[in-house]
Amino acid sequence: MEKPLTEHIKNDGTPLSLKEYEAKGGYEGLKKALKMTPAEVLTVVKDSKLRGRGGAGFPTGMKWSFVPMGDNAPPVKYLVANGDEMEPGTFKDRLLIEGNPHQLIEGMIISAYTIGANMSYIFLRWAYHLAAKRVLAALDEAYKAGYLGKNILGSGYSLDMDLHTSVGRYICGEETALLNALEGKRANPRNKPPFPQVSGLFGKPTIVNNIETYCNIPHILAKGAEWYISISKSEGGGGTKLYGASGKVKNPAIWELPLGTTLGEIIEEHAGGMQDGYKLRGLLPGGASTDFLTPDHFNIKMDFEEVAKAGSRMGTGTIIVMDDKTCPVGMCLNLEQFFAQESCGWCTPCREGLPWTAKILLALEEGRGKPEDIDHLTFQTHYNAPGNTFCALAPGAMEPLQSALKYFREDFEEHIHTHQCKYKH
């Protein structure tokens, strides 16, 4: 089984130096790309069926193709790596940055070359201090080796790359809010259209991709689109995916597996199943803002299509497991309090609806629930549905709640009728 993204990451906890990275074939993809035209690189990426790894799964090549190119294109364009990774339960990008920062840098250089950007930023979660340190060291090495800066490897192409560490808001993971934050503005999302490819950072054409997405690029260039598709088990996209699991499983971790590995295989084989004495009641397949799935879904493939068919989203692919001794209402409360706190306060449903939702869940947990509360929670899941709110934060926040109301409704009812949470006793 091929693991292009993680196979070279060392076990001793130190990152690959530039030399080590080069020894493992690092920057070969870049060298190959620089001999191609940007349009040719774009074709390879399109052919690879790479889909964005940040959660939405948008085809990467198609996203890039919306950037204006050619002589009439705006002279200033930007490329941004979204390393905000504040989705609860998600820690895959951290592994990639801390373990192999050059892989990210190489991926970004190739991507920037493809869209004709000469400035790029790595937007990093505030708490990722170690990752920040390692990115800075790797940037330094890359500049010295001529992979960044003016006239990269004699190609005539120039690119600068900077690290921007966030001040720590979940909304900064939303790409347009991220761009506002990067500009020094309030991290409120922007309306689309215009899309960032047309008016992004400082109003210039901009591509924002997830860290993991960029890390795929060097390998696609080095080994080709056909190879990339061949290592996937999914119909809808190529490559491998970093899957993870947290919760009361025997072996909580991150694994690089073919895209489309079944949920059951990830939980049973790689995570080692549940810890003794615990049963799996439900799981969030791709971070906190995805709908619950249940053991009934173990046979579905963890890819964008099949998870969607099952009523959830693959999201970041990092699974949060809920066991039978954890209160689903309490878990929802925990999540909704997080989302309510992280709302930017721009649009009404999110700003007002999420705190109200959290207050109701707290009331349920504290035995103050009322029979009409379930209807009201259901109302909130509709009120905050996609399209009703300004961005995807609130609809995402509603996904665990709406599915919990579906799968664990009896728990909500019991809290109301017994005026207590049985899991606390």
Binding site: P193, S199, A340, E342, S343, W346, T348, R351, A363, E372
Partner: protein, 884 residues
């Protein structure tokens, strides 16, 4: 045009609109908060949700915000579909969860957009059972009250204050449900336009602090259409009264003038109307008052004394006209200094004789390149500055439109524009606030600015490309030459005729080069241009000379405090040499003790009349109430004096006489409906149909119901009786429509939202350029006073206005009178250390504290205009400075 479908009904709407604009323009009721016709869409509040459908076969539809949906051909929505209605009700419910239940004690109550939208959206039962979030409020200064608990986070305030008006001391803080709008620390709001927060805020977060001092609900106010008298721009305002006190001033929408906004001088400078220093009785010095005093005046005039009249740029056209008729054209003088008279006449001269059009205030926003010469418009004509701030965004916005971003997509446009402004150039005697948005600016004395601007005009006339030269004049000339629609802005602020001509010459050169150029002049007062058009035998200085030459004349002084207009020596000389003096004015001032007779004049609140603004636009203002004392419109007193009558003629008769005798004023007779205008048989009521207490307001004095006062001069009535539909656009006393109690009801009075009023925006332009007009006026470079210090006025929005400075809230904002001077100038004059300095020209002498300001050009000192310590100074002064 685009064909759209709303609830399966087909409509045609103009291209380029969003669906909220389109629906609102069609007269459909769709609730909203964050959208504003002047600030457009950002999609924050989610209140204008509708169902949108792909086509006629789409039966499911999806919730979409109308404000963010293009009104394209085939756009199909439903306002009434149940899911949309449910969503909007739920959205209001969410907005209300933290909103205090304090409508009964909230100043916004009764004209609250949130109240209206709550009713319209159908939310009426409270399900939220948890605690409300609360905020601390801030003291934002004397104008604005802050009550953050009422906030529904529509972001309009910050979008107006920062994005639209360019403010920097106000913002949005925190996130999630704790979002807070205010200042980083408590303190007075610095923007000259802060008062607009009162109208921009859809609920009671920002309310009028001056109204609060004598609060009255909107429905209990008697209101009238009026014209702001704070500067020469002539913004349209609504005045409101109850119990004989003027309670507040609000914006009266006029799409050609001020649109939705006012400056703080205009909004809060009304309080002098209620001042204890008001003259309320006709009086004869040391003798009679009331009718007897007036009889004595008539008797005196019946003896046919030789008369001299002092007119006023703050009095109405009618009053000045009648004074001129009464005293005779040869004896009618303009009550301003010789230099001010000369400069204002020059403005009229270049507007009438030149070949360049002066745009309306609203049109100023449409120009793409601006050069401001000599004028501190932020302080002399604040609303021009606000319009210029919009003009400075025009070219940068083109980049956004090139990306196919819609004109209404405000946040997206601002994202592309970033901080780009202009081209916008300033050449002024000192650093003005517009430098925040300037591409480049220079400061200089009169001579250097005359030279600079002459060079600019010269370069434009010569044509060609001067891009290689980085000199300021070249850069300005290049920018103006490259522009499609350049605008030259100047005014009387430097009291220089040459500056006016230079501005006209630049504009003329651009006109000759085929540009769609405009030229704007700020003039000192509300009716300065009207006075110039009316014409006079000379200035106040001339009048004083005349009385000194021929003492013993009876002087009639109309709304002029001589001590404000000239130094006390000259003013005293005037009164000493006059025989009897009849003074017609509204407030006690330094001139009143010198009068033999006093006639109490109505301010804009108690009188009606016509004013001509800096654009040459004649505009009508109406009295809002009949005071319970001797106060009358000045023209009424003058008419009675002239005709030895007990009662003045009807206002229309006077306007008719004026229109017939002054050619330029001919169109004014059609400015507004005449007094006999009726809708059906009814007059237009100044009070709302909910007005309470009409029959009992006087009950503490007399239980008999008094006969309501009759307005013989206009189609308006003083009570709530009358026609409650829409009045003609010039005569709208307040904005209201069923279900729309707030200022947002303006929508219902417009042909399309943000567009002109039904029946056209009121006002008539009296001055238009001719193609064969002059493009160049002779300029004298003014080098006569070589080697002397030039003292120029510095202007203050709060303080430089004679009457507004007597308003309590404004008084709190007036800065002390301090001379500004650069250290180089001080050094050259051998001045060191702290203390006061004296500027002496021989003729004028003034001693004041000073402060060092390195932006003031060498050889120039700045003296605040019109403050208590500096009134009566005639600028410019050429002299020397010394330590006191």
């Amino acid at each position: 045009m685009a064909k759209i479908y709303v609830d399966n009904i087909e409509y045609e709407v103009p291209d380029g609109k969003n669906m909220l604009e389109a629906c609102t323009s069609l007269g459909l009721d769709l609730p909203y908060f964050c959208w504003h016709p002047k600030m457009h869409s950002v999609g924050a509040c989610r209140q204008c949700a509708v169902m949108s459908y792909r086509d006629e076969n789409d039966t499911r539809g999806r919730i979409t915000m109308a404000c963010m949906l293009d009104a394209n051909d085939g756009t199909r929505i439903s306002i009434n579909a149940q899911p949309a209605k449910d969503f909007r009700a739920g959205n209001i419910e969410s907005l209300m969860i933290n909103h205090p239940h304090d409508c009964a004690v909230c100043d916004e109550g009764g004209e609250c957009h949130l109240q209206d939208m709550t009713v319209m959206s159908g939310h009426n039962y409270r399900r939220y059972r948890f605690q409300k979030r609360t905020h601390n409020n801030q003291d934002l200064g004397p104008f604005i009250n802050h009550e953050m608990n009422r906030c529904i986070q529509c972001y309009r305030c910050v979008r107006f204050y920062n994005d639209y008006a360019g403010g920097g001391d106000f913002g949005v803080f925190a996130s999630s449900g704790r979002v807070y709008f205010g200042r980083s620390e408590e303190g007075t709001l610095e923007s000259e336009f802060s008062g607009n927060l009162v109208e921009v805020c859809p609920t009671g977060v920002f309310t009028d602090k001056t109204l609060h001092k004598h609060y009255t609900r909107k429905w209990d106010l008697t209101s009238a259409p009026s014209i702001c008298q704070g500067c020469s721009v002539g913004c349209n305002i609504l005045t409101s009264e109850r119990y004989g006190k003027l309670r507040r001033v609000m914006t009266r929408f006029n799409g050609d003038v001020n649109g939705y906004f006012l400056c703080d001088r205009g909004r809060f400078g009304y309080e002098y109307v209620n001042d204890e220093q008001r003259l309320t009785r006709a009086a004869q010095k040391d003798q009679n008052s009331g009718t007897d005093a007036f009889s004595a005046m008539k008797d005196h005039l019946a003896s046919n004394p030789k008369l001299i009249g002092i007119g006023s740029p703050r009095a109405s056209l009618e009053s000045n006209f009648l004074l001129k008729q009464l005293v005779g054209a040869d004896n009618f003088y303009n009550g301003v200094s010789a230099i001010e008279n000369e400069v204002v006449n020059e403005v009229l001269n270049v507007l009438v004789k030149g070949n360049v059009r002066t745009p309306s205030l609203a049109e100023i926003e449409t120009y793409d390149t601006v050069f401001v010469l000599g004028e501190d418009v932020t302080n002399t004509s604040p609303m021009i500055a606000l319009a210029l701030r919009q003009a400075a965004k025009n070219l940068p916005k083109e980049k956004a439109f090139a990306l196919k971003i819609q004109h209404w997509n405000d946040a997206a446009i601002r994202e592309v524009v970033q901080d780009e402004k202009g081209p916008f150039y300033l050449a002024t005697p000192y650093a003005t606030k517009l430098e925040e948005i300037a591409t480049s600016s220079v400061h200089g004395n009169t001579k250097s600015l005359v030279q600079l601007s002459s060079k600019v005009a010269d370069l434009i006339s010569k044509g060609g490309d001067h891009q290689e030269d980085n000199d300021f004049a070249y850069r300005v000339a290049n920018a103006l030459t490259l522009s499609k629609k350049p605008l030259i802005v100047s005014g009387c602020g430097m009291m220089s005729k040459e500056i006016i001509r230079c501005a006209a010459n630049i504009a003329g050169a651009l006109r000759n080069a085929g540009k769609e150029v405009g030229v704007v002049f700020s003039v000192p007062e509300v009716n300065s241009l009207g006075m110039a058009l009316l014409g006079s035998a000379g200035s106040l200085d001339d009048a004083i000379l005349q009385t000194e030459k021929e003492s013993g004349m009876t002087s009639i002084v109309l709304e002029t405090d001589l001590f404000f207009r000239t130094n006390s020596q000259k003013a005293n000389s005037f009164f000493e040499h006059s025989g009897k003096t009849i003074l017609i004015d509204s407030l006690e001032n330094n001139s009143t003790p010198n009068a033999d007779f006093i006639l109490p004049a109505g301010t804009f609140a108690e009188s009606s009349g016509t004013m001509i603004n800096n654009e040459g636009r004649a505009q009508r203002f109406y009295q809002v109430f009949k005071p319970n004392n001797d106060i009358k419109s000045s023209w009424a007193w003058l008419d009675m004096l002239m005709h030895q009558a007990e009662k003045e003629r009807n206002f229309d008769a006077i306007v008719e006489e004026m229109a017939n005798s002054v050619n330029a004023f001919q169109p004014i007779s059609g400015l507004a409906p005449h007094a006999d205008f009726r809708i059906g048989t009814q007059k237009i009521p100044r009070a709302s149909h909910r007005f309470s207490g009409r029959t009992s307001m006087n009950a503490d004095v007399n239980v008999h119901e008094p006969k309501p006062p009759v307005d013989e001069d206009s189609p308006l009535s003083f009570t709530m009786e009358g026609y409650h539909g829409k009045a003609p656009s010039s005569d709208i006393p307040f904005f209201w429509s069923p279900g729309w109690n707030s200022v947002q009801s303006i929508n219902k009075y417009q042909i399309e939202v943000g567009g002109p009023l039904h029946g056209g925006n009121p006002g008539i332009r009296l001055i238009e350029p001719s193609e064969s007009g002059v493009s160049s006026f002779e300029v004298n470079d003014g080098s006569a006073d070589n080697g002397k210090i030039e003292a120029l006025p510095s202007w203050f929005i709060f303080g430089s206005g004679e009457l507004t400075a007597k308003s309590q809230a404004i008084m709190k904002r007036i800065e002390p009178a301090i001379i500004s001077v650069s250290s180089a100038t001080l050094k050259n004059s051998g001045i060191e250390g702290n203390g006061k300095i004296t500027i002496n020209s021989g003729e004028q002498k003034l001693t004041l504290p000073y402060k060092v300001d390195e932006n003031v050009p060498a050889g120039v000192v700045l003296i605040p205009y019109g403050l208590a310590d500096t009134m009566g100074i005639t600028f410019p002064i050429y002299g020397n400075i010394s330590m006191d």
